[in-house]
Symmetry: C2
Subunit: 120 residues, 2 copies
DNA sequence: CAGCATCCACCCCGATACTG
DNA sequence: CAGTATCGGGGTGGATGCTG
């Protein structure tokens, strides 16, 4: 958050990429996005289970940041035991969609070998 | 590099996003990509000038990693004084293209305010 | 159940100086 | 010009334990 010293290109147009990179710049954020897209409205514990290896601290802090960034919505039903549901906002959904070509690129490179890329 | 312990979703489909994230996961990599796209075939010093704030060490290491990842091509003409030219590979160009929707998302959020995102 | 508090290790990045 | 060598700081994320 807090728009720290972002790098920029010489001609000043930072092209919006870095804005996006800040929002998804976290070890697990794209996975959280993805999880919330495929399994909408997830509870904390469910997300934790969906993302093997993540710790509660990190999951919590990432969720808070993503909420602050307006890509995740947090709904707390106050009951006992407590229940909180997380889902994507419209903006978060759009972000996730914008991630798809990147995912496709990644899939490509995993499955298909490089196509005549290596030089002599 | 070297495919360290990547996180994954519970159902195992890591959706390729993380593959891409590893390649662009560096403070300046997307900017390098962008610079090489707009100003193809750049020399080391030119790139440094194009990216105000980057240090030689970081530029060099990022360039080496991106070359190893097959997104940047390095051509060394051996003359004196030395001359080296960097450009995008096909894969790098595709990666850059795949980044465009993300850039658009970022631009959107900068210009337009949030559109009815905030809940009650 | 849904977190927070604390401590810490690691790694990335930046600054500076030097080399072929 | 095009890098490499070395050192150091900062921030992220991981482990563990506790709370409403």
């Amino acid at each position: 958050m807090a728009t720290v010293n972002r790098p920029g290109t010489a001609d000043g147009h930072a092209c919006g990429i870095d804005t996006a990179m800040e929002v998804i710049g976290g070890r697990w954020k794209v996975l959280i996005l993805w999880a919330l897209h495929e399994y909408p409205s997830r509870r904390f514990g469910e997300l934790r289970r969906l993302l093997p290896g993540i710790t509660e601290k990190v999951l919590a802090s990432h969720l808070r940041e993503m909420e602050a960034d307006g890509v995740v919505r947090r709904v707390s039903h106050d009951e006992v035991p407590p229940r909180v549901e997380y889902s994507l906002t419209e903006d978060g959904t759009r972000l996730n969609d914008a991630l798809e070509p990147l995912a496709a690129w990644g899939r490509d490179r995993s499955t298909g070998p490089r196509l005549g890329e290596e030089p002599s």
